[in-house]
Symmetry: C2
Subunit: 157 residues, 2 copies
């Protein structure tokens, strides 16, 4: 472990564009790790940059930090991951992204037919009772729209 090629938190922040506070938070959450200098300051291995990049991209895909942590845990521990390791992780997102695209397309199409009928009816309209895996689109609690559909009654007019 040549200390010289390790990075300070400020260097990681500058090169990833992620605030030092966020990096400390990521470490606390187990997404990245560091060694300490004699004085107690963090020093990160260079592959931490890629880890952080992975985290940010994964967030764009819509994953929570918890989910991302689980994904990262599957990397070979100890030794720095190679291209194939990263590729394997990234590949796992594809179905997720596809699913989200499909969900939005359904939403769009159903919205069109709702514009057609002008309804937004709770009973008829599948917009309101999504059977699909909408997951966390937009913020808010995860049980959003996930309620018992049988409780939803008749038309709105």
């Amino acid at each position: 472990m040549d200390l010289a090629q390790l990075l300070s938190i400020g260097q990681v922040a500058e090169r990833t564009g992620v605030a030092t506070s966020a990096l400390r938070y990521y470490e606390a959450e187990g997404l990245i790790s560091s060694v300490r200098t004699d004085g107690g300051q963090r020093r990160f291995r260079r592959d931490t940059l890629r880890r952080v990049a992975f985290v940010r991209v994964a967030q764009r895909v819509g994953l929570s930090l918890e989910e991302i942590r689980e994904a990262l845990d599957r990397l070979p521990s100890g030794k720095a991951p190679d291209k194939a390791d990263w590729a394997r992780l990234s590949k796992a997102w594809r179905p997720l992204i596809e699913e989200r695209i499909a969900t939005l397309q359904r939403l769009r199409d159903e919205l069109d037919s709702c514009i057609g009928c002008g309804c937004l009816s709770l009973k008829r309209c599948s917009l309101y009772n999504p059977g699909d895996g909408a997951r966390r689109l937009g913020s808010g609690p995860r049980y959003l729209l996930g309620d018992d559909p049988s409780s939803v009654g008749g038309p709105l007019g």
Copy 2:
């Protein structure tokens, strides 16, 4: 205003599948409104059901309650909105949804090329420096990934 055809908060909750606490919250936020009985209980007009449905669908599109409130404010005040009014509002979402779909498709395609090169490089990879309006995908604070891109440095290796 025939009190008889107004709905109690429990009735609205049951027919929309939205908790009474959420409905009270929506009212506090100006998304819906009610009249009060002599005893002080809320009574909602029937078109509140459609308003609530609109809110939930808009959330699925990814809008914040604030944005939804602004949209609802454009409805004719006082008189109950007709089909055309609702259609006009819903129509406004289309470009938004299209944009989100396009964003995800870009993300997917770029992810493919990143898998190809195995990079996830901060410099080369547009995944990491999104120029698009990714808005709020997934939950979390809104300044997510909204940092100054110029601060992002070189390759990760």
